[in-house]
């Protein structure tokens, strides 16, 4: 039997069975159970941290303005805002992934490109954020700025460098694992599909 012979049976089978027991209006009111939507709502929840940061800053300033003479506080807040920006970026990426109205090939290729670019930028971002910490600390030593980490300056430069390098390798490893845990299965599935095209 050839595929041609199946046409009539396919038409009869898929027309005789009743697919719908659900109401379309109810369906569109319900939330998507797709992992993309789950990720989207997860990132959306994280976005609440963005307006929370300036509020926290204002409250802290009102209660203890002296605190803001310490550069560490400014550094932590800067880090917080950068992380907030990254959360926003994540949210937009997941939103952009959910546009299935393109042709199948285009959709798969676009998703692969977006996710690979996202990983590249994530690596650059994490490296930048990580480098800020040792550079900030070492500059504070050099310019004798009080940071609250004075004990760290008593440690020898060799040990400090080793800790910075170890931290950098650990950061690269952990960030890669984190990204793969979010998108790894999906990227490999997309690449498998692209190979079938």
């Amino acid at each position: 039997m050839e595929l041609n012979d199946l046409k009539q049976n396919w038409s009869e089978t898929t027309s005789s069975q009743s697919p719908l027991k659900n109401n379309i209006m109810d369906m569109i009111k319900s939330k998507s159970n797709g992992p993309a939507s789950i990720l989207e709502s997860k990132f959306k929840k994280q976005l609440w941290a963005l307006p929370a940061l300036p509020v926290l800053m204002a409250v802290q300033y009102y209660r203890n303005p002296q605190l803001f003479n310490n550069p560490s506080i400014w550094f932590l807040y800067a880090l917080g805002f950068i992380l907030g920006g990254y959360m926003l970026y994540n949210y937009l990426i997941v939103k952009k992934l959910q546009h299935p109205q393109f042709a199948v090939k285009e959709n798969i290729e676009t998703q692969i490109t977006k996710l690979e670019n996202s990983f590249k930028w994530y690596r650059i971002f994490m490296t930048f954020v990580y480098l800020l910490i040792p550079v900030g600390l070492e500059m504070a030593i050099h310019y004798k700025v009080p940071t609250g980490f004075e004990q760290w300056y008593d440690v020898s430069i060799v040990i400090r460098l080793l800790v910075y390098i170890g931290g950098f390798i650990g950061m690269l490893f952990m960030s890669s694992r984190w990204f793969k845990s979010l998108y790894g299965v999906h990227i490999s599935n997309l690449k498998k599909l692209a190979a079938q095209l």
Binding site: L3, I24, N33, G34, L97, V104, Q111, V185, L190
Partner: protein, 166 residues
Amino acid sequence: MQTENLKELFVQKINEHERLIYKICHIYTRDELDLQDLFQEIVIQLWKAYPSFKGKAKFSTWLYKVGINTAIAGLRKKRTVTESLEHEKLPATIDDTQTYQQKEEQFTQLYSAIEMLNEIEKAIVMLYLEDKSYQEMEEILGINEGNLRVKMNRIKEKLRQLTKNN
């Protein structure tokens, strides 16, 4: 008010084309629960994408694009579609005597062979069974016509081998 009108128009369109969604689900999964889940997921994705439907292409073409993309390439952790079953045995080969029952068995055998195809091949087979022209298939899948013809021949040969060997 405008959203309500859009909703009503959308529901009407989906009611007219629900069989197409069902067919996409049917080619990718046989499990009843998965089928219902996939059906709902496709409807939700269609609704999300509906504002971007400008009516330049046929509604059915647009629906196939969203439906197939949702079924095969939606970001997912668990698989909602049937895996290609490379090593699974097909139902036993039957004689050529064309009784009704035997013909039904042959259909079952062919459907089982289709289940062993990869996701893109399944999409091509479904569009072929739906009597879509190569031009329409190109629009939906984004694979050029020449390549589609080659793929179609390979799929037919693959199905022939699968039904013959088992």
